[in-house]
Amino acid sequence: MITQGHEITAALKLKTHSVVIGSGAGGGVAAYHLAAAGVDTVVIEEGGYFQAKDFNQREEDMMPALYRSAGRQTTTDGMIYVWQGSAFGGSTLINTADATPIEPEVLHHWQQHFGLGTLTEESLAASYSRVYKDLNVHRLEEHLLNRNNSVLLQTARRLGYKTGVFDSNRKGCVGSGYCYSGCAYDAKQGTNLTYLPRASELGAQIYTDMRVDRIERLSTGRYRIHASVVERGSRAYRLPVEIDAVRIVLAAGTVHTPAILKRSGFDKGLPQLGRNISLQPQIGLAAHFDASDKMTSWRGAPQSCYVSEFDDNRASHGLGGFRMEGVGGLPGILAGFGKTIGKEHKRLMSEYPHTQFTALLVPDQPTGTMDWEWGADGKVKPKIQYTPKAEWVQRFRKAMKTAAELMFEAGARRVTFNSTVYPSITNRDQFAKIDEFPVAPGMVALTSAHVQGSCRIGLNADVGVVDQNLKLHNLDNIYVVDGSVMPTTAATHTMIPIMVMADRAMHALLHQA
């Protein structure tokens, strides 16, 4: 059963065996496996419950409805926007349905650097098999590639670069291009359409518009969750909720899972909580082509191909190098590219149909930290501290140069980055300017769609927050199954890595039980 906040009219007290906090990639998988095992399960989601009929394909409506802080969550210096879904289905509702596994070199890095010997390709194989089947993961159909993506793919192939078309968790995609705004056609197989409905059918009680404030450890060894029914939209407090449970599975995401642990006082003895954050920052590039070369970037699968030629993945450091991925987009977001205003900006916007957009993903090492404040209204205010390292900045600039070069090779007349300070590049002689582009707050807008870390896996509490089965080191019966457990960035897209890790952990837990 799925109960929305507005359907609750009085204070609520519940008893159950297991509570899953969060309904995204990790929470959805956990809820399904618990319910399938016959465990009395409650799922709590802070965001709202939305269905296909609610997704109106308009940015100004969907971002406040579906994104954490309406898409305005940033690092404390404002330089990097940290995008997370915050609704029934979490980020699986608003991602681009790209299915990428944990890179083998990442697992080797975790084994060698962190001693995580049980996380191997072999030990994860069964989980991949289940998750891929449950999500209908398959190679994206060629007809869904738009010109925006195929120009990147074809040019890279002509240059002899390694490339690929993404695997995808779509079913019956019509190529509308509105993946970021929730799928109005029920084609994207997020947890909202897969694991959560199945969990509900198996008896899980799912509550939306409900925020977990803190967890109390009772003298019996059980837990009491103190939560609030909140208003849709403003998330203002409405009603109190108490849920007594034996087991808690945290899947509130890299930013909010550690916040709940901290506010519950469970951070004692966990020095790594809120540390080791990876953001995998990315920047957008706009390449302007002749008017006859229509990109129509807003239709088709927005993000369907990648250039992996410049990957530098090694056991010594995990993901490295950089990647280019085609990325379609909608006019509200993309209007912000460049630095112009007035008639000149209008002229540039008239080039929108023949402008190609690419995302440059530059993997990072886990060097960020997090802390949190809570307002009188109970809302958490995350403080994400993150400063790119010099080595990362060097790779970032190399990525911009390489992508610009590729776009000129493809026939672009001009290349613009998502900064109001960086000048457009109109010929190859200007590439040297990129070395002088400032990478600092106030100078460039970066985006993170794959925040990871904060509750990383480690062999003990000195070096990690959870063990290899994702159980909290310092308390029994608390598990973490979201992106926060990743010791370093797992892949260029994190839905599948999170799901696979959650699947494995839940299987281990329920098998032992």
């Binding site: 507005h6 109106n56 308009r58 939209g233 007035g342 929108y352």
Partner: protein
């Protein structure tokens, strides 16, 4: 360009919360007094019911957005009363954001013209000087760039998500017509 790593925030598009917040804190006390003494010359009458912004903020935002997206042979900010649209999409309980927008607008109105040697308030400048002022903000320092980026992003986002901005850029819009679910929530 001067680098100042102690500055709080880069902003873009509508995501202006943190940076303009800091600006509001830095400039508001003095500028609020200046604003009281120098009302915006453009007398755009505010809508009867403003949702989140003050009448003064509405007037200033109307002036600034008109400079960023002028109305010519194609629609611009004034064609759709962009300031009113931004007001409607600003949550009234988001005090930090509202304070931030106010601080940024006051900065543009009373301090930014100095960047081009003007002593007049922004709203009293001619169109060319307004555009020159805004462009001068971008690149003068991280601080002014932050304000420019924030207000520019706010205006562009809410203009180009409106149907009036689509024809001229060749965007054919959503494939379905459905209401904003936020308006249906808790119904």
């Amino acid at each position: 360009m001067r680098q100042d790593h102690s500055l709080p925030a880069a902003t873009r598009r509508l995501f202006i919360q943190r940076s303009v917040l800091a600006l509001a804190a830095a400039f508001s006390p003095a500028l609020l007094q200046a604003a009281a003494n120098t009302p915006a010359s453009k007398s755009t009458p505010p809508p009867k019911t403003l949702h989140a912004l003050s009448a003064d903020d509405y007037r200033l935002l109307s002036v600034v957005s008109d400079a960023i997206i002028p109305t010519d042979e194609t629609p611009g900010a004034s064609s759709i009363d962009l300031a009113a649209r931004i007001d409607r999409y600003t949550a009234p309980d988001d005090k930090e954001l509202i304070q931030g927008i106010s601080g940024a607008l006051l900065f543009i109105e009373h301090k930014a013209p100095e960047l081009i040697g003007e002593k007049k308030a922004f709203s009293r400048l001619d169109s060319a000087s307004k555009e020159k002022t805004l462009l001068a903000m971008n690149g003068a320092s991280p601080l002014t760039n932050t304000v420019f980026t924030a207000i520019r992003g706010l205006c562009l986002f809410y203009f180009y998500t409106h149907e009036a901005g689509w024809k001229q850029i060749g965007y054919d819009g959503p494939l379905i017509q459905q209401a904003n679910p936020s308006l249906k929530a808790d119904a």
